[in-house]
Symmetry: C2
């Protein structure tokens, strides 16, 4: 019954989208606060939006203006919300990146985000402040095509889910542990969530009975109800704090049709690999034995782990939604099957009918060597041996209002000194890095190549997958390679014909990933590993382009750091 | 050896105080952040100042100017620090009360508090934002007399300790529980701390071994080392989140000589009752058998409880400081011996040589009925059935800058409607209250009486002790009474001869307490129950007086709420 109601709401929603000809303003009023929730049956503090985590899904149509008034009802804690995949053309102050585009939103304040969703597709939103994202402040954005336009594929119904990993320690405990000597890292997540629901084993020794209740309805599995014979578009986003994931639906293939808001040349998979910050649309046909339900499974890959797989129920109507499938859930791919993951990366190409032609040359190449480091004994992640820190006066304001003393003015390097001799396959002889909050200033309208170069961590024979996310832009994915990027040879293998455009892309173990984008969106944009603790520990960079073209900044983004000098009562 | 070093530091410190003739500026630079600490052997997140909790003791001389630069290194959380007992004459913006006198200090910001300590005595400082105080952000202020002036008592050495209660749940969990339906209150503290050290039983079932370590030096008992035959001034402050306490030193009487910065007519006690926000100085003569050590004990009173007593070691030099006393620690007074506590309250009178003459009449009488209530199903505490909430635009700024729309303008009542018929001995028939952020505006230089009237809570046959603290003032304590205050009769019993002046005073179970103060300190001042959860749940009020006489406000206190309108880049 609940599912039918949902389907009805859904149909009304689609109808209302398609019946609108002109762009609309869609106004949301959200209250952000802490509540006790049990997403995986274990009760802990969760940041909710209007009582929910994940928060409400933003449903809009291309060209609409989204207005979100966020009231911060956290008691002593600030917040900021990023609209992940939305380029914020003309509204860089609405990107929601604390320290980059705005001051944090204080408790009691209501901050208005206002921006245009200028391209249909599947996007996300989430906190972009400290490590609040993993406290539960996240959700989906679904942008439909304008009325009369059609996608290059067809389906009967449209659904969104977000995959996540889940920790029982608070974000404060986690962040403090990362900044401690000895380093105190939480390690594997306790569970994996599918659309905010997972299952921790409450019988685990040492778990207090009043904290974990396996019968709590908040942790009943997510149910994806389908009508036999129908085709479903499933929009899948990942906002894991750490985990690289695989997702599959028992007995059903999936046809990948969209990635980060761009149509891909369709390809069929049994399981989809997805990294934090990525979104995909897949088509699923409900063409299996309709007398039973099936498992939907997500499992952690790329890292040997102890995290149990996350489960949901793929429910064939009219079977009862909670009817357990008669089978053992698929166990998913092996965590260490790197080739399978690289192959999926390589398979993602632009749909032939929707190719955005890629500039055939670039004006600047920046090679970002990803390493794990130490600074004064603290564990860090670094780019070219510089561990990034956010300033407390947001760059956008500092640059527009000429507060250049608020961050370091020496630009970070386009390539690490000694790149040619750097051995990415071993623990570096000197793991010590430096720290900086300086940014890359890009010449407006130039074409920039970024080479993400992976390397060995501080542990022998270990390299980790890092999903990098660029704000304010989509980039063309020119290629992936194994080993160390060769500046003269590897560009010859770039895909300059039909590269996909994305906003998030993995750099695989010991490999490299090459991206290209045009610096044509006036503003200041973060580019960082989407693993929340990695960015917190310095794995990021910031790009400025055309900041002089940015319109007058709203004063609502100010009030912190050196912008307090603008307080003139 | 450590103790000797401390004594040496102390002697140098006293020397430096006495050698100074003119008022000095004492400059402190503090960094506030989260760290894992084990004050009672149980590891949890603690807010530290320069790595310590309690924070550094401020040592100053009457007339000195204190400058404290507080750098907020909490990751996503603001802060504010109150200088408890300092009247902030001429500097109301340095009172550190978020929502009343300042906007919170943002992460990354350094806020400067600057104020004069104009009266010798024993004071405190602590966070005054949300429920941060109980996360560990607190410490002592000790102000010495000017050179050449002497106290009306003598002693050889001077020491400060703070008593506290300690919870293992985070302040976020506690605050969220208080704002939840069903109400989720943490109940009794897990331990009592003496100068930041207590002892939780790590063998308690369900406590993970890696979280609790009874041999951690951080939870070794506080040691008070004495030289036989010497007299010690012990300054004792309480900053409990909840607990009313008794404190005693086995086998040693204590002579009470100071309360909240005022000299009292000395009286001798076996144990000292102390409420959150109070300070006392007691004299202790090390006149017992010097061949052994003794227990110092604090225990919880006023509430039936399960909290183990807090222990410290009163160490006779040269016994080893960790040598356990050969006796069983005293168990302290019975929790429910109300008379003993009222008797101590009645015993505290001004020292004859230091009487501040009390105005014999008052211009206004405000009766504050203390009740427990519900609002929309949420548990609250109220004054005259109004549960206080803090505005997000601090009153001081709102009033000076004419932002009167930021809080409710209808003044709270001077007496509850139906006061004469209100039965304080029973659960009220209607426990529902309303909420308001309005304040009392006092005519400048008038004399105001406050009658704190206690009552039955929402539980039959239950009334609780509330310690009320007034900012910006000392008040005369005119009297305490049992039962309901009689407006015509009870004032006849006021002590108008030698009442003590204090800044914090208890209202006992089912009783009343009468205070008088002169509204002669331009500013806006909080007056509230010092039980942190009670103030959080509405047990407070705010007084404005002479705000038009307040000098130009520093912009450093602005940046939140409606003060963002002053951002003019």
């Amino acid at each position: 019954m609940k599912e039918l109601v949902l389907i009805c709401i859904f149909v009304v929603s689609i109808f209302s989208l398609n019946s609108t000809v002109e762009a609309r303003i869609r106004h949301y009023r959200w209250e952000v606060k802490y509540e006790f929730k049990s997403p995986d049956c274990y009760k802990k503090l969760v940041i909710t939006i209007n009582g929910r985590s994940p928060g409400p899904t933003i449903l809009a149509q291309q060209g609409d203006t989204i207005v979100v008034d966020i009231k911060n009802s956290l008691v002593t804690e600030n917040t900021a919300v990023h609209w992940h995949g939305i380029r914020q053309i003309g509204t860089p102050w609405s990107d929601g990146t604390e320290g980059v585009t705005q001051c944090p939103i204080l408790p009691g304040d209501t901050f208005r985000y206002k921006f245009v969703v200028d391209r249909a597709g599947t996007y996300l939103y989430h906190a972009h402040y400290g490590m609040q994202r993993e406290a539960g402040l996240y959700g989906s954005i679904r942008v439909a095509l304008p009325a009369g336009e059609a996608e290059p594929f067809s389906y009967d119904y449209d659904r969104s889910i977000i995959l996540n990993d889940w920790y029982h320690k608070s974000t404060y405990e986690q962040a403090t542990g990362l900044s401690s000597i000895p380093f105190d890292w939480v390690k594997d997540p306790q569970s994996l969530l599918i659309q905010g629901r997972g299952r921790y084993n409450c019988s685990t020794p040492g778990i207090a009975a009043n904290l974990c209740n396996g019968t709590n309805p908040e942790c009943s599995p997510y149910v994806f109800t389908v009508v036999p014979g129908k085709t479903y578009r499933l929009r899948i986003g990942s906002l894991t704090a750490l985990a690289a994931l695989s997702f599959e639906i028992e007995g059903h293939n999936m046809t990948v049709v969209e990635a980060d808001g761009h149509y891909v040349e369709p390809f069929v998979v049994n399981n989809l690999f997805i990294y934090s910050g990525e979104t995909y649309s897949v088509l699923i046909i409900a063409n299996q034995d309709p007398s039973r339900n099936y498992w939907a499974v997500t499992n952690m890959v790329s890292r040997n782990n102890t995290t149990p797989n996350g489960l949901a129920i793929f429910n064939y109507y009219p079977n009862h939604p909670t009817k357990s499938p008669p089978t053992i859930p698929p166990s998913g791919p092996y965590w260490n099957d790197v080739d399978a993951r690289v192959n999926q990366s390589l398979a993602i190409k632009s749909h032939p009918g929707y190719i955005h032609p890629v500039p055939q040359t670039s004006d600047r190449v920046i090679i970002l060597l990803n390493t794990q480091n130490k600074i004064n004994g603290y564990f860090k992640w670094s780019i070219n041996n510089v561990s990034f820190t956010l300033p407390h006066t947001p760059y956008l304001i500092a640059l527009k209002q000429n507060l250049l003393h608020t961050f370091e003015q020496t630009a970070p390097p386009d390539i690490i000194n000694g790149y040619e001799s750097y051995d990415i396959n071993v623990v570096p002889p000197n793991v010590n890095a430096t720290t900086s909050n300086s940014l890359y200033r890009l010449k407006f309208n130039t074409t920039v190549d970024i080479i993400l170069q992976n390397a060995n961590t501080m542990t022998a024979n270990n390299s980790e997958t890092h999903p990098w996310h660029l704000h304010g832009h989509d980039f063309w994915v020119l290629g992936y390679g194994k080993g160390k990027f060769n500046r003269s040879e590897d560009p010859k293998s770039y895909n300059l014909v039909n590269p996909i455009m994305k906003n998030t892309v993995p750099v695989h173990l010991y490999g490299w990933t090459a991206l290209r984008f045009v610096a044509n969106n006036p503003g200041v944009w973060a580019f960082h590993c989407h693993i929340e603790s990695h960015f917190y520990m310095g794995m990021g960079a910031v790009f400025e382009e055309g900041v002089e073209k940015v319109a007058k900044l709203p004063s609502s983004i100010m009030g912190c750091g050196d912008t307090k000098r603008f307080l003139k009562p």
